[in-house]
Symmetry: C2
Subunit: 400 residues, 2 copies
């Protein structure tokens, strides 16, 4: 499904009528994504007790910024509304140059990140790699014995990070409510209700998957693969993901607020898509990457881990081009370590999530863009292209 | 049911085996009460952006404190374990003189307050009375038209505050899982599952109640009455309880952490028992009362509102003595404005919640005690008496 890009203003967020069952659907998602914890189980990711990283503001006149779609020109503000954006923070040269919130959203409210969560999760894996607890070349089953004898046998941590593990999971069509990509919402906690034909929790689904092909052969986006990274993280640390993520990352980037994460009925964290943060804290996470893993002089993530995202490995590029995500207009794009690399030469990569979530890191312009949205549909090519184009044009604008 | 007071150490809190269905039951409540949001829908009560009220510590030797039960003497530490306490904070003369946490609990984790929530809710009513938005003598139906033509017709806000509204609701026996006091857990969000024979949300239950007697005639503890205060608060402010409570109280007492509150399937807040705070923040709330509604020179709650709790109205005392809560050994006790007044002459009153929650305010010794526990049973006369006795003896000890 798709939504025409027009100046039509999205419906405002309202609580009335939003239920456990519809909070992800239009127009209820407008309230739902900002109040996920009111519709399902969540755990807290503590910001710890440290100081907040202050983000200075630098006044920047963006009134002459225009994006053209067909024969319509959109100012930045019009574009954000047309793209169903709820929150938008641009940090350039270390300062906030633009910050915008839809009605009812503010700098202190969390918003669901959807699959941008994957980029947060993989960054934690990077920390554990730096600590020597995880080797990307090692098989996942080495760390998670429960995977032995399943379709995951032989899959390395790197296969998980690159979405190339060979398991059967259909996430190609979010418009099909019976596809795995939608049904997993019942297992992983997005939906409280259970279905007899869907495993009752994430790990049960993980271990029940059928194999498909050879590990490493192809890139195919399947969220459940990232959940296995969550299992690895919990297994090698002997702690819950929430505690490890708080300890290693969230308490070290100067986050202003605790984050939320959806948990399944057994308490397993939905690391592939269930994290909720404020827009500013998402921008702070982006800055962690932009600054090659360091925050205020302290190395939080190994610099090599952020650099390797930009490896531009021809094999990754070829795999990506051959996948359903491949796009001839961006022949150098690829997916690596749970990031979508737009342009490795520019140092431009992003985490993306359905319904219009994004954190964009761009070394070439020294910029991070955090964008949170509630598109009417989970996946929407028109709005996706539009949002990415607005972001790219804004980077060009800022570099002038 | 009751639990013998012995030096037996409670089982430690563990995540494994705790489910949506058993998190309130022994021994699962030990983890459950510290992680309520992982088992049901919750909303956030923001602490706002203000400074944390620092609580200085004053070293106080309590090694000679002993409580005797039968022929056993308990040190304070032994007593806290015997009483299934999870967190214990004593503030005397403005400084923390004792702070203790069970294994796995810390100053930054929230814990379910159960009915201590009622005392927080009524304090917010006090603020709204001060603002002229609520008159305790006015009928609830004046503020909440949906109550018109129901058993609540004729009940004043004061009747709600004093648990003397005349509605039929059986909360006398928590050991009976079919009693209203247990079944309401299905409506108000403690339990995610629904039952066909229980209203699906709190307000539906409120408006469906049958009348019983005359408003104001008797004191009978029925949690659902406090929920109507929540309806009044939302109605007169036109805002959600979470926002009003944050704005008027939680952001003004120097709370260190956001609080959580259980919400029902329609988002109605469980103001009668669903609030979760840290132990220190509960102590800060107690200090708000101890200091007659002021925090750092700013009047947050009218002083008259805190003073009137200690009115020692003979009618309240008589009503209380005649109720099932009456106790000949404390003939001057009463329930007023959602507080249990232990001794008005001493300025000693408390909020109590099942499974051993308490905030005790004592003007005579300038002390607040915050206690969070997970008794094996919701109500337990042995542990209740023991916990209250330890607190009272500690006040005596501190006044020496």
């Amino acid at each position: 499904m798709h939504t025409e890009v027009t100046r039509t203003r999205p419906a405002p967020a309202r609580r009335e009528g939003v239920t456990d069952d519809n909070w992800q659907e239009d127009p209820y998602n407008r309230w739902g994504f900002r109040h996920v914890r009111e519709f399902t189980r969540t755990a807290r990711i503590s910001r710890g007790q440290g100081a907040v990283r202050q983000l200075p503001e630098r006044h920047t006149d963006l009134s002459d910024f225009l994006t053209v779609v067909g024969d319509e020109a959109f100012t930045l503000w019009e574009a954000l509304e047309a793209a169903y954006v709820d929150a938008f923070v641009v940090v350039n040269g270390g300062a906030i140059v633009h910050e915008w919130y839809a009605e009812g959203m503010d700098p202190h409210g969390t918003h669901l990140l959807m699959s941008v969560s994957k980029s947060l999760t993989s960054t934690l894996v990077g920390v554990l790699v730096g600590e020597g607890l995880v080797d990307p070349a090692e098989q996942a089953v080495t760390y998670v014995p429960a995977l032995k004898g399943t379709a995951w046998d032989g899959a390395t941590v790197q296969h998980l990070l690159d979405m190339s593990a060979a398991v059967m999971f259909n996430e190609e069509d979010y418009d099909d409510p019976e596809s795995d990509g939608c049904l997993i919402e019942f297992a992983s906690g997005y939906r409280l209700g259970q279905r007899d034909d869907v495993p009752g929790d994430t790990v049960s689904w993980v271990v029940s998957l059928d194999p498909q092909g050879e590990h490493g052969d192809r890139f195919q986006y399947r969220s459940i693969i990232t959940d296995v990274l969550g299992m690895v993280i919990e297994s090698v640390t002997g702690q819950r993901f929430t505690d490890v993520f708080s300890d290693r990352i969230w308490s070290r980037i100067g986050a202003e607020h605790d984050a939320d994460i959806i948990v399944d009925p057994k308490g397993f964290p939905t690391v592939e898509g269930g994290i909720c943060t404020t827009a500013r804290d998402l921008a702070r996470f982006g800055l962690l990457h932009l600054e090659r893993g360091a925050v205020g002089g302290a190395q939080v993530v190994p610099a090599e881990w952020t650099d390797r995202i930009l490896c531009a490995d021809p094999a990754l590029i070829a795999r990506y081009a051959a996948s359903s995500s491949g796009d001839p207009t961006t022949p150098q794009a690829y997916y690596h370590d749970c990031w979508w690399v737009w342009d490795a030469a520019k140092g431009r990569y992003a985490g993306h999530g359905i319904n219009g979530q994004m954190v964009l890191v761009d070394r070439s312009t020294n910029t991070v863009i955090a964008m949170m949205s509630t598109w009417p549909h989970r996946m929407d090519p028109h709005l996706s292209d539009f949002g990415s184009r607005v972001a790219a044009e804004l980077l060009d604008h800022l570099s002038r």
